[in-house]
């Protein structure tokens, strides 16, 4: 699905979300803003934990909020970090479950760094179709 979206607005919401990050261990603030097909935007931040595996990234926080609210049709996600970092492999895997060609906006608090897509970041993804043999 090709949909128009306001990359600047999404990026701005991701920047704001990053300010809410709970990152006492890494100090690495991440914010995400996820746009759904009906125009709703869900935001998320990374939430760290003394037990590192319990940490959830900003992207998955936003997706969890959206899916929990009944949304599964996603158009774009903006991700804000100080150094224009990309989504980690876990988040790429989770995004792929719902939209393998999702538009991804990489931004810093100052400006959008670039726009890409999930399939460009995660070529030949392992997806739900691999388990359809059951």
């Amino acid at each position: 699905m090709i949909a128009r979206y306001d990359a600047q607005q999404l990026a701005r919401l991701a920047v704001e979300a990053a300010q809410r990050a709970y990152v006492p261990y890494s100090g690495y603030h991440v914010g995400a803003a996820l746009l759904t097909a009906d125009g709703t935007i869900f935001t998320g931040c990374n939430i760290e934990n003394a037990a590192y595996p319990a940490i959830i990234c900003a992207e998955r926080t936003a997706i969890s909020k959206a899916v929990s609210a009944g949304q599964r049709d996603f158009v774009a996600i903006a991700v804000c970090t100080d150094n224009a970092g990309t989504p980690c492999g876990i988040c790429r895997q989770v995004i792929n479950e719902f939209n393998r060609t999702l538009s991804v906006i990489i931004t810093t608090p100052e400006q959008i760094a670039y726009e890409t897509t999930l399939d460009a970041l995660l070529p030949r993804a392992f997806g739900p179709e691999k388990l359809e043999h059951k």
Partner: protein
């Protein structure tokens, strides 16, 4: 570093037989070759608590790193159809072996070889912007 593709693939196929996959019925085996020539294998190990599942490639890295190994040459992954690794495993590979050679092996033993970079663009971790 040259290595025996078929031997590594066979170790992954052998490891796949030990997979514990009662929920997905999707058994995976993996074999990880270090620069010292050692091979560490693992199978996918599922759990009723799905998030507690550990993939085969991830398991092979856990085995190797726990034994003091951090220099890797190649990773063979055996599945029914020669499927690529999931995003979690790609993140683990990014940490230790961004230049790894990947062998995708199907249950007939057919091997597809590709560089890790072919399945992980702009990785998070090793290449800060």
């Amino acid at each position: 570093m040259d290595f025996d593709r078929h031997a590594l693939a066979q170790r992954a196929l052998d490891a796949r037989r030990n997979a514990y996959a009662p929920y997905s019925d999707y058994p995976v085996g993996s074999a990880l070759l270090t620069t010292s020539g050692a091979i560490y294998t693992a199978a996918s190990v599922e759990n009723a608590d799905y998030p507690a599942t550990i993939c085969a490639p991830n398991g092979a890295f856990l085995n190797a790193v726990s034994e003091g190994q951090r220099d890797f040459v190649a990773l063979a992954i055996a599945t029914r159809d020669g499927d690529p690794p999931c995003g979690i495993c790609r993140q683990v590979i990014t940490e230790f072996a961004p230049n790894l050679t990947i062998l995708l092996v199907n249950e007939s033993g057919t091997i597809e070889e590709l560089p890790f970079a072919a399945v992980m663009a702009r990785p998070f971790g090793t290449h800060p912007a």
